[in-house]
């Protein structure tokens, strides 16, 4: 099995979701997948190199990623309560009004 191809597949699935899905939560899930695909490379290359620095980098990346998710979910909740909108395209149309 090849972990780099696996990481690329996960990245491709995330990009597919980012491009095709309009739901804000699905968009956020796609971003999480892209982040997971990128973070996976830290562990894969750390495993190849034989040191633990990759795991330390993964922890740092995951912490920032989780904090980002928290703030985006808060923004999604606010957007829904204020505007009753869950669609990315509807949100972008609000700029015109």
């Amino acid at each position: 099995m090849n972990y780099i191809v696996l990481s690329l597949t996960l990245l491709a699935v995330g990009l597919y979701g980012l491009v095709t899905k309009h739901n804000l939560l699905k968009t956020l899930i796609s971003i999480e997948m892209i982040a997971a695909a990128a973070s996976m490379n830290f562990v894969v290359f750390a495993s190849i190199a034989g040191d633990s620095l990759g795991q330390a980098f993964l922890m740092l990346a995951l912490s920032v990623d989780t904090a980002m998710t928290a703030i985006v979910v808060a923004l999604v909740l606010v957007a829904y309560r204020e505007l009753k909108v869950l669609d990315v395209w509807d949100l972008s149309k609000l700029k015109e009004t």
């Binding site: 939560l25 040191d51 995951l62």
Partner: protein, 162 residues
Amino acid sequence: MIMFLYEDAFAVALVVSAFLALHLENVAYAVISFGVMFTALSALYFSLGGPFAAVFQLVVAVGTIAVFFLAGEMLAPKRGTRQKSGSKILGVIIAFGLAVPSVLLDFEASTSMKTHDLSFSSALWEFRALDVIGQGVVVLALALGVVMVLKERKNQARRKEY
């Protein structure tokens, strides 16, 4: 040999659950699938020799899934349209197709890098100590940001009441 099979199974589970998390229209099922993806990813980290990464990924995933589940339940319409079974089966077939290259392609990933005997704690606290402290500041700032965003909304609701 057995380890090899486990890794393949986890890789297939990772890709299939990732695809289904996006393909399934029911938010609860999508979030459950997303959780399976994180679990498979954690198992792969463990098989790669990264126990700290695996445990940390699993812990973070639990929080993320809980937040997604609550947000999904709050925001999903009460009676959404039901997804056809054919669409679900097609999604599973496409997902298995996507998982094939990562399982079958197997080229040598050798490296000329010198193997370092660096422990996890020294990697984190001696090499990345400043990053860890900076990270704490960033996470605190983001937590304050979340509080401010939600508080602002509460204040607006109060103003509307008056």
